[in-house]
Symmetry: C2
Subunit: 357 residues, 2 copies
């Protein structure tokens, strides 16, 4: 793979770029995209950057029927010095291959795809917004394309990378969200696909999301599918609790996603000397700590919002209001530090950023 | 919906039809397909039959990322008198809407879509093969098409129906398969999407399938995701056990698919006066009945194979050989009766077939 050349076809026209205060999440795409194909005979072939455009598939393509697909999500940030930085992109490439493994999709050459991603971002560099909180969201994904209705792994695939300039997740800085602890629906279970970043996990989550939104909650907190007792993660975030000075987060048990932000937060906390544990946490334990007045902060972690403080957890009608519904000081400190590193405003202690040139 | 006209665009050229002894499953498609779209403003609109052709989608279309999609599978059979029959198609329409409900996809007008399906089959009637065991497989499916990377229900959809002439599932009449009882991987759990016919369930199953095939087994038998003890179903079949003269099959517990063939078999058995129970069945119970010499027959039921006798069940290395690895007399009788009804060779006692004209 290493010595395959990426063919570039430049877009003839350039789209208008939206004002940075009008950016939403994932609705607008840049001028180009990356694409390569896979066949059993050729392996991954024809890596190319082409104008952003619709793709054409047979209606029998397996992606439409059996959902064999994986994806990733990461961001590029523009610094004050006009550099463009990626945040730990090698982690996303690594996770893409872990997802591939679970979904029976052929492995990719991580270095090659990361290099392609950089070339694409570099070509559409003008699309990386500069206003505070904005960034360029990067979505690599692989779909199964063989036109065949048998239930089996596809023999052909397409890997694509698309780019979308995105706004600040919270228009007025970070602010706490209300989260509903889900009891009826289940997202994933051990032995299932929970630890892979694959479409079906998200399709499965829509119903619970819809129900909780109607009740005024922005996301759901998933419990384990077996006892409905142990905490898993939020829609597209991992979750952390600060209890009596100590931070805990669910361990990587096979049914939750190993978030890159989660890992970064754990590293930061350790560096700061804040006690942090990855372990099984029951919702009862959280409720007890709340009752005892020891539940100090709760926050979600994920690429989209970086840190999302939780102001309320609703568990079977019991409303746990956390830190008076305000952003806690540790949540704020983590947010400030991570976003400063991502935006090149602070020394990159852990060597997390990678410049695109 | 009722009074919307289906626009028909005839294909200019007709594809060559394969010889009926060369038919595989789901690789060849007919000359036309049905299609309609959904938007929030218009509801389902522009129902049309067009030449079978590739479809074009934005790379950000939600189907590629979050797998919000459902499908169905049924067959059309050619009788000796050259009639074309469908088997209980209204059940598939009903199930499509149940799947829609779970996946947050808008409901369809079942009568309208069934009528569209009939028109399509009628137009491509020449593609319904006549050799014994052959049929025309019909695949309705709905995909989410909104180009948006937020995790939410799509605001636009496409419903399509494609047709594929298929061969006899077993080239030499029905014969028993070997099945591996899965212990590591899980397909679905209560609260998940197991009872919906949606892509993610099948994506989740590929890995276990791959592992069991390497060991010489054709499919896996799923156990419940919680205790890994109760029997669920096979890859794309429900499962029945005949123990000491009585037939049992897992009850519809929320994590298995309510098969149309399953329901038909239960009805037939009741009609024949064979005792049949839908209930929770543990793998231990099956093993005990095997040890006691009471496990007389095991068979899977599904649209593709109708009845698939099981000759061996491998549970943690214990190989249970059933009925000396031969097709049992009840399995054979059910197979003969159902296929005779489907092919119009026997009086349609239950009013199950619907003629396409
Ligand atoms: C299910 C799920 N959990 C957690 C996360 C957080 O992972 P990361 O920090 O790598 O963005 C995401 C999303 O990105 C997710 O989809
Ligand atoms: C998971 C699953 N279970 C059972 C069945 C059998 O259902 P039916 O008899 O309606 O074909 C199918 C397939 O069709 C299936 O995909």
């Amino acid at each position: 793979m290493e010595n395959q050349q990426i063919q570039i076809t430049h877009s003839q026209s350039r789209k208008a770029k939206p004002a940075s205060d009008q950016l939403e999440f994932g609705r607008i795409f840049t001028d180009h995209m990356f694409m390569m194909d896979y066949s059993e005979e050729k392996g991954w072939y024809e890596p190319r950057i082409v104008p952003y455009q619709p793709i054409t598939l047979d209606p029998a393509a397996m992606i439409f029927h059996y959902g064999q697909t994986v994806f990733e999500g990461l961001k590029a940030y523009r610094t004050k010095e006009d550099k463009v930085l990626l945040f730990r992109p090698e982690k996303n490439m690594e996770r893409l291959n872990l997802s591939n493994e679970r979904l029976c999709i052929p492995q990719i050459d991580e270095d090659f795809v990361l290099n392609a991603l950089k070339q694409l971002v570099n070509l559409d560099k003008d699309w990386v917004p500069s206003a505070e909180g904005t960034s360029l969201y990067i979505r690599p994904f692989i779909i199964s394309t063989e036109p065949y209705l048998g239930v089996a792994a596809s023999k052909s695939y397409k890997l694509m990378i698309i780019l979308s300039p995105v706004g600040s997740y919270y228009k007025e800085g970070i602010h706490p969200v209300k989260i509903f602890v889900e009891r009826e629906f289940v997202r994933a279970v051990e032995g299932g696909t929970g630890k892979a970043k694959t479409a079906g996990n998200y399709a499965a989550s829509l119903k619970a999301q819809e129900v909780s939104e109607k009740q005024g909650y922005s996301q759901v907190l998933w419990l384990d599918g077996i006892e409905k007792r142990y905490i898993e993660e939020v829609g597209s975030m991992n979750i952390f609790f600060k209890i009596n000075g100590k931070v805990v987060t669910p361990e990587l048990n096979g049914s939750i996603l190993a978030g890159v932000t989660r890992d970064s937060v754990i590293n930061l906390l350790k560096y700061w000397g804040v006690p942090v544990q990855e372990r099984r946490i029951s919702i009862d334990e959280i409720y007890d700590s709340f009752k005892n007045g020891e539940l100090e902060e709760v926050f979600g972690t994920g690429t989209a919002a970086v840190i999302s403080p939780v102001g309320e957890l609703n568990w079977e009608g019991e409303k746990m209001v956390i830190n008076n519904g305000k952003t806690g000081s540790l949540s704020q400190k983590i947010y400030d530090t991570l976003t400063s590193i991502q935006n090149g405003l602070e020394p990159d202690l852990f060597d997390w950023t990678v410049e695109v040139k």
